[in-house]
């Protein structure tokens, strides 16, 4: 299904026009065929999106599951590319495609890719090369790769191909082959689920009859910290995904919540009420060495570390309504970060340290906002939204994953940081919330 969004309001600093390119529409229709529950909103001219041809791979029909449509969906969702459709034509990896013809179709980039059965049997060999069709033929080949694919890993392979293309062209890492965590409500039960970055391949890590909130990935991507209410009060756990081993990180008298890993993984910031109201503390990853970080007479919560580990951003009502502040990770005086609006919560700095995303209340509506930390410019990413919450940056800082509501149910969406491309993830569970985007794995 394709849905177009109304014009972004005038408060966006980019001043987008809404134009949908006919070629792009054609590609989206093709994608929609493969994943018909996916909704993509494209807002803006697409002028800064790179036109790229991702054809059907040569011999792709021999695969049990197609791969190229997943690559296309990834690139489209990132907001950095505009797909140029060439129909059912494939471009074999073994020879240079007709660059002039590709260029004539409006493409700047084209992928040539082929599938062969692997000699070890059962697996497939996927070879691909990326061409800059605007260059002369001898300079057009900008790199390629060969991957061995067990049939069951077709989605991971597709995400890796998309990552390769993204990085070769944009010179920043792609993060399609990463994982996300979120909480699904299934009847009266809660499940902490782990899925691919596009919301597919969900696996339950934890099932509980009581709520689970605030999942936070360890920097090594192997563990999640979260808050579980299974003992009638909020307790922070650290959970190793591969083994299912769980440890209590913080269970002090009162509430224990809002875990946030330091970038080096050695300790976490948490919120405890053992000394009264909700305040920030740091605690070693093994549960030892708890140390109070803030001392205010109100609420201090929702900590998030800056990527250099120097600062902790947090929400505080010390000035009345909730606003965002930051404090040096080893303590000191807090400084206020947000001044616009009476309700700003859930600060999350981008992994590149340049931006801050958070939720702002705007005439009773909760909306996803992004602040450029250098220029102090603020943009509301979803001016139409009423119930956006729990933002989480992609590890390459170019997209934000967040929860919102549709028809009374929680859904997850991604938006490019310029607000240009928004997509709802096609997650199987009907009611989901509290997303967290996992790290890039080396």
């Amino acid at each position: 299904m394709i849905k177009t969004s109304p014009l972004l309001s005038a408060n966006t600093f980019c001043g987008f026009f809404r134009v949908l390119c006919a070629v792009l529409l054609g590609c989206l229709a093709l994608n929609a065929h493969a994943e018909d529950s996916v909704t993509i909103d494209v807002i803006g001219t697409g002028a800064d999106r790179i036109p790229i041809i991702i054809p059907v791979f040569e011999n792709e029909s021999s695969l049990p599951h197609p791969v190229s449509d997943i690559v296309r969906a990834d690139l489209e969702r990132s907001g950095a590319f505009q797909l140029v459709d060439i129909g059912p034509l494939s471009l074999p990896e073994s020879r240079t495609p007709d660059l002039a013809a590709m260029k004539a179709r409006g493409a700047h980039m084209a992928l040539a890719a082929s599938v062969r059965p692997s000699s070890d049997g059962g697996r497939y060999e996927i070879r691909f090369r990326l061409f800059n069709v605007q260059k002369p033929e001898r300079e057009a080949d900008i790199g390629g790769m060969m991957l061995f694919m067990p049939p069951a890993q077709h989605r991971l392979i597709a995400h890796r191909i998309a990552d390769f293309i993204y990085e070769k062209i944009l010179h920043i890492p792609g993060c399609f082959a990463t994982r996300i965590a979120y909480v699904a409500k299934i009847g009266a039960r809660y499940e902490l689920q782990i899925a691919d970055s596009d919301g597919v391949n969900a696996q339950p890590a934890l099932r509980s009859a009581e709520p689970i909130i605030s999942p936070a990935w360890s920097p090594d991507g192997q563990r999640l910290a979260y808050v579980s209410f299974e003992a009638r009060k909020p307790i922070v756990y650290v959970h190793a995904l591969a083994t299912g081993q769980r440890q209590v990180l913080a269970n002090f008298k009162g509430s224990n919540s809002a875990p946030a890993w330091a970038p080096d993984g050695s300790r976490l910031a948490v919120v405890l009420t053992k000394d009264g109201l909700s305040q920030l503390y740091t605690i070693n990853a093994n549960g030892s060495g708890v140390r109070r970080l803030t001392t205010s007479s109100g609420i201090d919560t929702e900590p998030a570390w800056s990527p250099d580990g120097q600062w902790i951003y947090f929400t505080s009502d010390r000035s009345g309504g909730p606003q965002i502040y930051r404090i040096a990770a080893n303590g000191g005086n807090a400084e206020r970060v947000t001044f616009e609006g009476a309700y700003n919560v859930t600060p999350r700095p981008s992994p590149d340290g340049k931006k801050l995303t958070f939720i702002t209340r705007n005439e009773g509506r909760f909306q996803l906002a992004i602040l450029d930390l250098a220029s102090r410019q603020r943009m509301i990413l979803n001016p139409e939204a009423a119930r956006d919450e729990s933002p989480s940056f992609a590890p390459n800082s170019n997209m934000i994953l967040y929860a919102t509501e549709n028809g009374g149910k929680g859904v997850l969406e991604t938006v490019s940081v310029d607000g240009g491309v928004k997509q709802r993830l096609s997650i199987q569970a009907a009611d989901v919330r509290e997303p967290a985007w996992g790290p890039l794995l080396k």
């Binding site: 090369r129 790769m145 579980s228 109201l277 909700s278 929702e302 859930t346």
Partner: protein, 167 residues
Amino acid sequence: MKKLLLPALLTTALAACSSDPATNASVGDNVDGNNNKVESVNVQPNAGGRSTSPELSGLSQGSVYFDYDSFVIRAEGRPVINSNARYLNQNRGTKVLIQGNTDERGSHEYNLALGQKRANAVRQALKLLGVRDEQVEAVSLGKEKPRCFEVSESCYAQNRRGDFNYQ
């Protein structure tokens, strides 16, 4: 199994690659799905506790309600506080968990902190009536355990409350 195959596959891949006339080729690592293994865990909730002590049931519903964005115990909440305080003072070995709750508006964690303010207000009121600190634990369930699920002010009002949970 996959791990054992890796060296052989890499050799094959490198051989294939060296015969490739194209430049810039790189060989991807083998895809090992074990990196993404997730072991599922089921947790059983701890024995539920009773929302109201047997002696108190019938006397009140055991809940104290709050106005929007407020942590002040209203006059109609006083009898609930008083009866619970009397019960706790007569039963010094008894412990109670005060669970603060909020309506659904706003972030999960900020609401958890707001619910804590309500639970602390109830704890403070009990303390003023002589209940000992060690008998009371004030915690928050934030917006996670609503009693009413509709999007309406009357529903929100039912969710802004403190509950007494006897152990």
